[in-house]
């Protein structure tokens, strides 16, 4: 294999691809990046066996096509420290990779490309296209609620549900639930559901931006693949069944109030300081036109805040983990927020006034 490329053109995909490669690897080949050159294209592949990222660059010409794997981090460090605008020549022969730029010369060890565990293109898989901004919004609106290392392994990820003209993401850790759906220009014969693992979600969102450029999703039985221009991202899925989240969304709540989102968030964050550090419980006292927020801790310290709300109806006292409420208020990107309650033992529903595309359910706490 032999090709030449400018430092900048190589560095951008290499940095992203090497980001997937974990530092501590049990298998030597996983700390390598797979470099393939053929035709007019150079592709770089990195994997940690859970997610895989392929970056592609157009090349002016490939002198000799081929494939090899070289240590990812070392290659990246070398490219980073070369002077700007250097022209890099990359040659692989006799199991060694030689990298030349100006008067520098580096020789790197390689491992056979055939042993690299990259994922083959599947066949007969469903393919659909979304604007990147839509997918990013769906993920950002829900990813905070994913569980972390829960024994209910199917909660350690995000449910992505696709049906005709609708995409929905759901995440829950058993205490709170986030659902976000958006209409999209897709046509599917059968609805598709898959659970993307936590790591896959966090890596995928790094590749997306707010633009209307398309991202192509390829739904396989074992993988989700996302293609954005120069990158192809692949993640394994969680092999399990996501709980029936629709049953969890409370219905028939009769106490609706709306409040200023940023004000409510600040009030809650302030009272949180004096809540029990372990349970983070705060007490909400709902009165006409006013919400009183109370917190106390084992040292008998107390916080009390009052915030004006738009509410008329009966009084209610209810406890919540303040962290869950603040998380929701952080991602809701609107002026006003609406909260629906029924009694002290039923979960609360948070959403945009009148119902936006996202819904958040938070379970109450007994205080």
């Amino acid at each position: 294999m032999k090709f030449s490329i400018s430092r900048e053109a190589l560095l951008r995909p290499l940095t992203l691809v090497a980001g997937v490669v974990e530092r501590r690897q049990t298998l030597p080949v996983l700390s390598n990046v797979l470099i393939e050159a053929n035709g007019q294209q150079l592709s770089l592949t990195g994997t940690d066996l859970e997610v895989e990222l392929v970056g592609r660059v157009e090349l002016a010409n490939v002198d000799q096509p081929g494939a090899a794997t070289v240590p990812a981090r070392k290659l990246m460090d070398i490219c980073k420290s070369l002077p700007d605008q250097s022209e890099i020549t990359f040659i692989v022969e006799d199991g060694r990779a030689i990298l030349r730029a100006g008067r520098s010369r580096f020789t790197l060890s390689t491992l056979p490309a055939a042993e690299f565990p990259n994922i083959d293109e599947g066949q007969g898989e469903t393919e659909l296209t979304l604007p990147r901004g839509t997918l990013k919004h769906l993920i950002d609106a829900t990813s905070f609620a994913m569980a972390q290392q829960d024994v209910r392994y199917y909660l350690n990820g995000m449910l992505i549900e696709m049906r005709n003209h609708l995409v929905r993401t759901v995440a829950t850790d058993g205490h709170r639930l986030a659902v976000c759906s958006r209409s999209a220009d897709i046509a599917l014969d059968n609805p598709h559901k898959l659970i993307l693992p936590r790591k896959g979600v966090l890596e995928l969102v790094r590749l997306l931006d707010d633009s209307d450029e398309p991202v192509t999703l390829i739904l396989g039985s074992n993988h989700l693949r996302a293609r954005t221009g120069a990158f192809t991202f692949t993640s394994k899925l969680i092999d399990g069944k996501f709980p029936d989240y629709e049953r969890v969304v409370p219905k028939g709540g009769d106490k609706h109030f709306t409040a200023e989102r940023s004000e409510l968030r600040q009030v809650l964050s302030r009272t949180a300081i004096l809540s029990n550090e372990k349970y983070r419980g705060v007490r909400l006292n709902l009165e006409e036109g006013n919400l009183r927020v109370l917190a106390n801790n084992p040292e008998q310290e107390e916080a009390e805040e009052n915030v004006a709300i738009d509410y008329s109806g009966g009084g209610l006292e209810i406890g919540f983990n303040v962290g869950y409420l603040v998380d929701v208020l952080n991602v809701l990107n609107v002026e006003q927020v609406q909260m629906t309650l029924s009694d002290a033992n039923s979960s609360a529903l948070l959403e945009e006034p009148g119902g936006g595309d996202a819904m958040y359910v938070v379970m109450p706490m007994r205080l």
């Binding site: 066996l49 859970e50 055939a114 565990p117 392994y153 350690n156 394994k236 899925l237 092999d239």
Partner: protein, 325 residues
């Protein structure tokens, strides 16, 4: 990688299951240590992961190449960190995470766990949930020398495949190839109690030397040598092999003492020694010594770290007392 010649019948049965899509999600391969279960399990793993399997794995496709290179992403191997140690709960949790996610390369996910009886209680309990109902295309292969020592809840979740002692005719050609000549092959096959891999191990190099040394020690004991002085001749590292030989010889002795027949004797070269011993000792005493040896072996296997020199000396003192009484 292929199974051993004496496993072909079993291999065909298991492949038949796979080809008819009747494969269970968990297999427990059990049987004595020297029968080649590991190779059978590895051959099976390779075939399950191979993309173009024939009777065996093809050895050519990308899956086979990754496996040969030592890292197939769809294979998880769980073994004790060191030989003789237990499998800890952390490695089993790794398996649970592995099963929770879909296969990285399409096809089967294989979890190879050995030895099944060598898991800590916590580790075995942590495995139960995944072992009971893993997702589709998952295969657990558990190996157990002594399956009765594994938790019953683990055993009942696996389909049991038992490896029996093969016929002499089935393994003799293979043994001849490994040990050089027919006579050696037959002799060591008998010494190993019919376990071909063990026969090869015993019949070569240091193990062969050890048996020779032991034989000399015992002959010296019969002639009235001092057991503590004799114990010094034996390599302390080989304590478990020494116990293994002692037990095999005791079993021979008891057989001879009770039946008087020589046909079932495994170590036929020791017959003069046995005759001498049978004349001197009572069968009940031999049984008592056998219990003692088995207890020592159990302690050794359970990871308690006995003083090898003391065990060797007291072992030989007991022998000497019986051989001379």
């Amino acid at each position: 990688m292929k199974p051993f010649p004496w496993q072909h019948a079993l291999w065909r049965q298991i492949i038949d299951l796979a080809d008819r899509n009747r494969f269970p999600h968990a297999l427990m391969l059990s049987g004595a240590g020297g029968l080649g279960k590991e190779q059978f399990a590895k051959a099976l793993t390779a075939r399950m992961l191979c993309r173009t399997p024939g009777e065996f794995a093809c050895g050519e496709c990308r899956s086979c190449r990754m496996l040969t290179a030592g890292h197939h992403p769809n294979l998880l191997t769980i073994e004790p960190a060191e030989k003789g140690r237990l499998i800890r709960v952390d490695s089993v949790r790794e398996a649970n995470d592995f099963v929770a996610q879909t296969a990285q390369q399409g096809g089967y996910r294989v979890i190879y766990l050995q030895p099944a009886e060598g898991m800590t209680i916590a580790a075995a309990n942590a495995l139960l949930k995944s072992l009971e109902e893993p997702g589709s295309n998952t295969l657990f292969i558990l190996l157990a020398d002594i399956p009765s020592r594994a938790l019953p809840t683990i055993r009942s979740r696996c389909q049991r495949w038992t490896f029996a002692i093969p016929d002499e005719a089935e393994c003799l050609p293979w043994l001849r190839e490994k040990l050089g000549n027919d006579e050696d092959a037959r002799f060591w096959w008998r010494v190993a109690g019919g376990q071909p891999l063990l026969a090869v191990e015993l019949g070569q190099g240091e193990s062969r030397q050890l048996r020779q040394t032991l034989r000399e020690v015992f002959e010296a004991l019969v002639r009235g040598a001092e057991p503590v002085a004799e114990a010094a001749r034996i390599d302390r590292q080989a304590l478990s092999s020494v116990l293994w030989y002692g037990i095999a010889w005791l079993e021979d002795l008891i057989r001879l003492g009770l039946s008087g027949e020589t046909a079932q004797i495994r170590n036929s070269d020791l017959l003069p020694l046995y005759r001498q011993a049978v004349k001197n000792g009572r069968v009940r005493d031999w049984f008592r010594l056998l219990d003692y040896a088995r207890e020592q072996r159990r302690l050794l296997a359970a990871g308690s770290n006995p003083n090898a020199q003391l065990v060797l000396e007291s072992w030989l003192v007991r022998w000497a007392a019986l051989l001379r009484s």
